[in-house]
Amino acid sequence: MPSAIEFQHASRQFGALRAVDDVNLAVESGEFFALLGPSGSGKTTCLRLIAGFEQPSTGKVLLDGADVTGVPPYDRNVNTVFQDYALFPHMSVAENVAYGLRVRHAPIEQRRQRAAEMLALVQLEGFGDRSPTQLSGGQKQRVALARALINRPAVLLLDEPLGALDLKLREAMQIELKNLQRQLKITFVYVTHDQGEALSMADRVAVFDRGRIEQLDTPRGLYMRPRTVFVARFVGGANVIEGELARRLTGDARSFAIRPEMMSFTSSASTPANGVIGCDATVIDVQYHGATSRWQVRTEDGNVLAVVRPELGEHGNSYAVGSKVGIAWAREQMVMLEGH
């Protein structure tokens, strides 16, 4: 059974810039796959390579086992939900949704019926006669989704679709999208720069940096076992300790990551117990997050580390800004990283 999407040494160059640099990945059918990375990391270009708006400079892109180099977007069984929704302003909502069927010359009755079905699927029944300009951001989002699904594509591409929505709406849409994907069993490829979104929605995530995939893993794998400094920092904001401090603390020159929630405050940093590593630091900032609090502490040699502790009870932890503390963590919680 061939993968729904496959990249084989795919690269996309713009002059001297390698937007996508020797990318290899395989997305399985029915998977919710995320492309995660900062701006300019190549994730959107990869999406466009799948959709057909870009052609690879070298390498191949395969859809369902077939090489689609040179195949235009209208001949691919792939549909896209655009970041700015790209709704046609001169058509009604129903006409927008039915567009995919109209260009395939489907009979008018079928178009009307399917459009109504799609609108019901995204909970916008009765919105058919409205103009896209009269809709809110969330509603436009859903129309774009309905429009992209009407052709029953094998793959649905989503280009940072929730970026323009406020937090509550975004969270609600995340759940809706996940449910929709489970229900329709379509392969979803989701581009985002929000690591929280990628971790909570995707079955597997590819982390991009500067055109290359840093790590391709399940969300849990990325969080618990980051492979490089970039992934450790970008996904979950782990503390990364490198160089001199690393060597002093562990006796090993390699960089390592330690998650902020694995750190604890201790009074005896200078005489650590077996299997525990610690050092002295000064608190420079504290943020109350309700369920937890997040401290920023600076070690003697200037490294700033984050410590996250749960907030239990009324009194809170008493490490105010400026106080000298000891921080410690278990050796086995450390993740060794490959250099950058």
Binding site: G52, Y74, N79, T80, F82, Q83, A86, F88, P89, Y99
Partner: protein, 316 residues
């Protein structure tokens, strides 16, 4: 924590400051004040003269005294509509205006499309300058230049003969009504000059409208399965329609009112503009001139209504 050493006070009450505060508080008054001079201009000079013209068209000329009788009457309009020669003039001008508009639209679209969506920044600048450059030349110079080009001994005739296509020109000139002894004295030649003259007025609004069509819309259309031709008719053209409508208002109205091109490059038949010029000049029949002037206004109003009905301005 150091206190601010010196607070910044608003300036003391000079006249300038007093005035500026006054206008800041009464922003509507300020707006009206700014708009008053141009509105006065529009009101008195433009609308006023337009109204005076309209009024004149409801007067009639006394045939014996050859003076204007200032009594409201529909006599002039009756003359305008019932006289076959007058109707001929109107229809002739209308036909030319429609033909020129269509030709400009067809020629301008590929140019504007290229400029707006495919040209590199350098090419785009080059094209914009190229389209606008003829507008910096004198109108009369251009018209006379074309007359020379289209003349029997002109460069167009010479060029076609050199390539062996003078037969084609003969056939074109032999066409009834639009043909003539030479391009420089036929409706065909007039048509060519009109299209040349008004093309920038069609290209520029069209390019502006096409540029405003977001690339993501075109990609979305292709993504949903539309072939390029379908994307053009379904997405690009409807969204470019306001630009097309704007450009066509230029070409349509400019052709309806023009009197120089029909005089310099043209067949014997009269055009509305020439009629107006003649009637208000040598003939002294101002009411008839005014009535003729009203015709383009009415035609354009009808044209805009039709365009709106057809949804040309929906995408605005």
């Amino acid at each position: 924590m150091a206190s601010a050493t010196a607070t910044i006070e608003p300036g003391a009450g000079t006249l300038g400051r007093g005035l500026s505060t006054f206008f800041y508080r009464r922003s509507t008054f300020y707006l009206l004040l700014l708009l008053l001079p141009p509105l006065l201009w529009l009101g008195t000079v433009y609308l006023g003269s337009l109204f005076a013209l309209l009024l004149q068209s409801f007067y009639a000329i006394d045939e014996f005294t050859a003076t204007v009788v200032p009594q409201l009457t529909l006599e002039t309009y009756r003359q305008l509509i019932t006289h076959p020669a007058n109707v001929d003039i109107i229809l002739r001008t209308l036909a030319m205006a429609i033909a020129v508009t269509l030709a400009c639209a067809v020629i301008a679209f590929p140019v504007a499309n290229y400029m707006a969506r495919y040209a590199s920044p350098r090419m785009k600048a080059f094209f914009y300058v190229g389209v606008m450059l003829p507008m910096w030349t004198s109108y009369l110079v251009k018209v006379y230049a074309w007359r020379l080009i289209l003349a029997k001994q002109g460069i167009l005739n010479w060029g076609l003969t050199a390539v062996g296509l003078d037969g084609v020109l003969e056939i074109a000139l032999a066409t009834p009504v639009v043909g003539g002894p030479s391009l420089a004295s036929s409706y065909l030649g007039m048509f060519i000059v009109f299209v040349y003259m008004w093309l920038p007025f069609m290209i520029l609004p069209l390019a502006a409208a096409l540029e405003r069509v977001p690339q993501s819309l075109i990609q979305a259309s292709a993504d949903l399965g539309a072939r390029p031709r379908q994307t053009f008719w379904g997405v690009i053209l409807p969204l470019a329609l306001p630009g097309l409508a704007a450009g066509s208002v230029f070409t349509f109205s400019l052709t309806l009112g023009d009197y120089i091109i029909p005089s310099v490059v043209g067949a014997p038949g009269y055009f509305i503009g020439m009629m107006v010029y003649q009637q208000q000049g040598t003939a002294g029949n101002i009411p008839l001139a005014a009535a003729f002037s009203v015709v383009p206004i009415v035609l354009i109003a009808i044209y805009l209504m039709l365009a709106k009905r057809m949804g040309a301005f929906d995408a605005l």
